[in-house]
Amino acid sequence: MPVVDFTDTPFATLQQTRPQFCTIMSGIETNAAARFDALLHNDPADDFLAGRQASDILNIMTAMSDINLRVGHGAGLSRRR
Protein backbone atom coordinates (compact mmCIF):
# COMPACT_ATOMS: atom_id res chain seq x y z
CA MET A 1 0.00 0.00 0.00
CA PRO A 2 1.15 3.57 -0.60
CA VAL A 3 2.41 5.72 2.25
CA VAL A 4 0.45 8.80 3.27
CA ASP A 5 2.24 12.14 3.16
CA PHE A 6 0.78 14.73 5.53
CA THR A 7 3.23 17.51 4.67
CA ASP A 8 0.46 19.88 3.53
CA THR A 9 -2.07 18.77 6.09
CA PRO A 10 -1.40 20.47 9.45
CA PHE A 11 -4.36 22.43 10.77
CA ALA A 12 -2.61 25.76 10.28
CA THR A 13 -2.01 24.92 6.64
CA LEU A 14 -5.59 23.78 6.17
CA GLN A 15 -6.77 27.11 7.49
CA GLN A 16 -5.19 28.63 4.39
CA THR A 17 -6.01 25.95 1.85
CA ARG A 18 -9.30 24.43 3.10
CA PRO A 19 -10.74 26.85 5.63
CA GLN A 20 -14.15 25.14 5.54
CA PHE A 21 -12.58 21.98 6.88
CA CYS A 22 -11.24 23.87 9.86
CA THR A 23 -14.59 25.55 10.46
CA ILE A 24 -16.33 22.22 10.59
CA MET A 25 -13.74 20.58 12.83
CA SER A 26 -13.72 23.56 15.16
CA GLY A 27 -17.48 23.40 15.40
CA ILE A 28 -17.28 19.81 16.51
CA GLU A 29 -14.23 20.02 18.79
CA THR A 30 -13.06 23.07 20.72
CA ASN A 31 -9.45 21.92 20.63
CA ALA A 32 -9.64 20.88 17.01
CA ALA A 33 -6.22 22.07 15.86
CA ALA A 34 -4.25 20.16 18.48
CA ARG A 35 -6.38 17.05 18.22
CA PHE A 36 -6.22 16.96 14.44
CA ASP A 37 -2.49 17.62 14.28
CA ALA A 38 -1.96 14.79 16.74
CA LEU A 39 -3.41 12.43 14.14
CA LEU A 40 -0.93 13.37 11.44
CA HIS A 41 1.36 10.42 11.79
CA ASN A 42 1.98 7.61 9.41
CA ASP A 43 3.98 5.41 11.70
CA PRO A 44 4.05 1.79 10.55
CA ALA A 45 4.50 0.79 14.18
CA ASP A 46 0.95 1.83 14.98
CA ASP A 47 -0.41 0.10 11.88
CA PHE A 48 -1.47 3.42 10.38
CA LEU A 49 -4.15 3.88 13.04
CA ALA A 50 -3.53 7.57 13.71
CA GLY A 51 -2.98 8.44 10.07
CA ARG A 52 -6.04 6.43 9.13
CA GLN A 53 -8.29 8.69 11.20
CA ALA A 54 -6.86 11.86 9.71
CA SER A 55 -7.13 10.45 6.19
CA ASP A 56 -10.72 9.38 6.81
CA ILE A 57 -11.65 12.87 7.97
CA LEU A 58 -10.00 14.48 4.96
CA ASN A 59 -11.52 12.02 2.48
CA ILE A 60 -15.01 12.59 3.81
CA MET A 61 -14.76 16.36 3.97
CA THR A 62 -13.25 16.55 0.49
CA ALA A 63 -16.06 14.40 -0.91
CA MET A 64 -18.64 16.36 1.06
CA SER A 65 -17.40 19.66 -0.33
CA ASP A 66 -18.71 18.56 -3.72
CA ILE A 67 -22.16 17.59 -2.45
CA ASN A 68 -25.06 19.92 -2.01
CA LEU A 69 -27.66 19.46 0.70
CA ARG A 70 -31.04 20.92 -0.03
CA VAL A 71 -31.33 23.05 3.08
CA GLY A 72 -34.40 25.20 3.24
CA HIS A 73 -36.22 23.19 0.64
CA GLY A 74 -38.19 20.86 2.87
CA ALA A 75 -37.22 17.91 0.72
CA GLY A 76 -36.15 15.42 3.30
CA LEU A 77 -32.92 16.03 5.17
CA SER A 78 -34.26 15.56 8.67
CA ARG A 79 -37.51 14.79 10.40
CA ARG A 80 -40.35 16.83 11.74
CA ARG A 81 -40.61 16.27 15.45
Binding site: M1, P2, V3, V4, D5, F6, T7, D8, T9, T13, L14, T17, R18, Q20, F21, T23, I24, G27, R52, A54, S55, D56, L58, N59, I60, M61, T62, A63, M64, S65, D66, I67, N68, L69, R70, V71, G72, H73, G74, A75, G76, L77, S78, R79, R80, R81
Partner: protein
Protein backbone atom coordinates in the same frame (compact mmCIF):
# COMPACT_ATOMS: atom_id res chain seq x y z
CA UNK B 1 -40.26 11.57 2.45
CA UNK B 2 -44.01 11.42 2.96
CA UNK B 3 -45.21 12.78 6.26
CA UNK B 4 -41.71 13.21 7.62
CA UNK B 5 -40.71 16.37 5.82
CA UNK B 6 -38.03 18.46 7.39
CA UNK B 7 -38.15 21.70 9.24
CA UNK B 8 -35.02 23.03 7.67
CA UNK B 9 -34.96 26.11 9.82
CA UNK B 10 -34.09 23.90 12.76
CA UNK B 11 -31.88 21.24 11.25
CA UNK B 12 -29.04 22.99 9.44
CA UNK B 13 -25.58 21.92 8.44
CA UNK B 14 -23.01 24.72 8.50
CA UNK B 15 -20.00 25.21 6.30
CA UNK B 16 -19.28 24.13 2.79
CA UNK B 17 -21.80 21.33 2.65
CA UNK B 18 -24.41 23.68 1.30
CA UNK B 19 -22.12 25.69 -0.89
CA UNK B 20 -22.92 24.29 -4.32
CA UNK B 21 -26.33 24.22 -5.85
CA UNK B 22 -26.13 21.87 -8.82
CA UNK B 23 -25.78 18.61 -6.96
CA UNK B 24 -29.28 17.36 -7.64
CA UNK B 25 -28.88 17.99 -11.33
CA UNK B 26 -25.85 15.75 -11.22
CA UNK B 27 -27.70 13.02 -9.41
CA UNK B 28 -25.74 13.24 -6.22
CA UNK B 29 -28.16 13.06 -3.36
CA UNK B 30 -31.25 11.71 -4.98
CA UNK B 31 -31.00 8.18 -3.68
CA UNK B 32 -33.77 6.65 -1.67
CA UNK B 33 -33.59 7.23 2.05
CA UNK B 34 -32.53 4.28 4.14
CA UNK B 35 -34.80 3.96 7.14
CA UNK B 36 -34.10 2.52 10.52
CA UNK B 37 -36.71 0.30 12.11
CA UNK B 38 -36.17 1.89 15.51
CA UNK B 39 -39.16 3.78 16.88
CA UNK B 40 -37.14 5.86 19.36
CA UNK B 41 -34.85 7.98 17.23
CA UNK B 42 -34.76 6.70 13.68
CA UNK B 43 -31.98 8.38 11.71
CA UNK B 44 -32.41 9.37 8.10
CA UNK B 45 -29.70 8.07 5.80
CA UNK B 46 -28.94 9.10 2.27
CA UNK B 47 -26.34 7.63 -0.02
CA UNK B 48 -24.68 9.31 -2.95
CA UNK B 49 -25.25 7.42 -6.18
CA UNK B 50 -22.93 9.10 -8.64
CA UNK B 51 -20.22 6.48 -8.68
CA UNK B 52 -19.84 2.76 -8.70
CA UNK B 53 -17.32 3.02 -5.88
CA UNK B 54 -16.56 5.27 -2.92
CA UNK B 55 -19.90 7.02 -2.54
CA UNK B 56 -20.66 9.12 0.51
CA UNK B 57 -23.41 8.05 2.89
CA UNK B 58 -24.85 10.55 5.34
CA UNK B 59 -26.87 9.58 8.39
CA UNK B 60 -28.70 12.43 10.09
CA UNK B 61 -29.47 12.10 13.79
CA UNK B 62 -32.11 14.76 14.11
CA UNK B 63 -32.52 14.36 17.84
CA UNK B 64 -28.83 15.06 18.55
CA UNK B 65 -28.45 18.82 18.32
CA UNK B 66 -25.81 21.40 19.12
CA UNK B 67 -25.56 25.14 18.62
CA UNK B 68 -22.45 26.17 16.67
CA UNK B 69 -21.85 29.90 16.21
CA UNK B 70 -25.51 30.58 16.82
CA UNK B 71 -26.69 27.97 14.32
CA UNK B 72 -28.57 24.94 15.55
CA UNK B 73 -26.96 21.90 13.97
CA UNK B 74 -27.82 18.23 14.01
CA UNK B 75 -25.45 15.31 14.30
CA UNK B 76 -24.40 13.92 10.93
CA UNK B 77 -22.56 10.63 10.61
CA UNK B 78 -20.70 10.47 7.28
CA UNK B 79 -19.16 7.39 5.76
CA UNK B 80 -17.61 6.28 2.48
CA UNK B 81 -18.01 2.67 1.45
CA UNK B 82 -15.91 0.94 -1.16
CA UNK B 83 -18.80 -0.10 -3.38
CA UNK B 84 -22.25 1.10 -4.27
CA UNK B 85 -23.51 -2.44 -4.60
CA UNK B 86 -22.19 -5.97 -4.67
CA UNK B 87 -22.36 -6.21 -8.44
CA UNK B 88 -19.96 -3.35 -9.07
CA UNK B 89 -16.78 -4.75 -7.57
CA UNK B 90 -15.97 -7.81 -9.62
CA UNK B 91 -12.79 -6.52 -11.23
CA UNK B 92 -11.17 -4.65 -8.39
CA UNK B 93 -11.73 -7.37 -5.85
CA UNK B 94 -9.44 -9.79 -7.62
CA UNK B 95 -6.43 -7.49 -7.54
CA UNK B 96 -4.06 -9.01 -5.01
CA UNK B 97 -3.49 -6.96 -1.88
CA UNK B 98 -5.95 -4.30 -2.90
CA UNK B 99 -8.20 -4.80 0.06
CA UNK B 100 -6.54 -5.13 3.44
CA UNK B 101 -8.53 -6.85 6.11
CA UNK B 102 -10.58 -5.03 8.68
CA UNK B 103 -12.19 -1.63 8.38
CA UNK B 104 -12.24 0.61 5.37
CA UNK B 105 -8.79 1.87 4.45
CA UNK B 106 -8.79 5.57 3.53
CA UNK B 107 -5.98 4.98 1.04
CA UNK B 108 -8.24 2.61 -0.88
CA UNK B 109 -11.10 5.09 -0.63
CA UNK B 110 -8.81 7.78 -2.03
CA UNK B 111 -7.86 5.59 -4.99
CA UNK B 112 -11.40 4.43 -5.69
CA UNK B 113 -12.92 7.88 -5.46
CA UNK B 114 -10.20 9.42 -7.61
CA UNK B 115 -10.63 6.76 -10.29
CA UNK B 116 -14.42 7.01 -10.12
CA UNK B 117 -14.23 10.75 -10.68
CA UNK B 118 -11.87 10.33 -13.62
CA UNK B 119 -14.39 8.06 -15.32
CA UNK B 120 -17.16 10.67 -15.18
CA UNK B 121 -17.14 13.92 -17.07
CA UNK B 122 -17.91 17.13 -15.26
CA UNK B 123 -16.70 15.85 -11.92
CA UNK B 124 -14.06 17.77 -10.03
CA UNK B 125 -10.93 15.77 -9.33
CA UNK B 126 -10.95 14.18 -5.91
CA UNK B 127 -8.13 16.04 -4.24
CA UNK B 128 -7.90 15.65 -0.47
CA UNK B 129 -5.07 17.68 1.13
CA UNK B 130 -2.70 14.77 1.56
CA UNK B 131 -0.77 12.66 -0.91
CA UNK B 132 -0.11 8.99 -1.41
CA UNK B 133 3.49 8.05 -2.06
CA UNK B 134 4.55 4.85 -3.69
CA UNK B 135 6.83 2.67 -1.61
CA UNK B 136 9.38 0.21 -2.92
CA UNK B 137 9.90 -0.71 -6.55
Amino acid sequence: MGSERIDSSRGRIPGSWTRRSSACKRGISTGSPIRSSSTLAPPDSFKENRFGEANVQLTFHGDDRKVVDGVTCIMVEPDIDYYRDLGSHGLLEVLPGFFPGGMTDPRVVYLLRWMAGRRKSGIAEFDPPYTLDKVGD
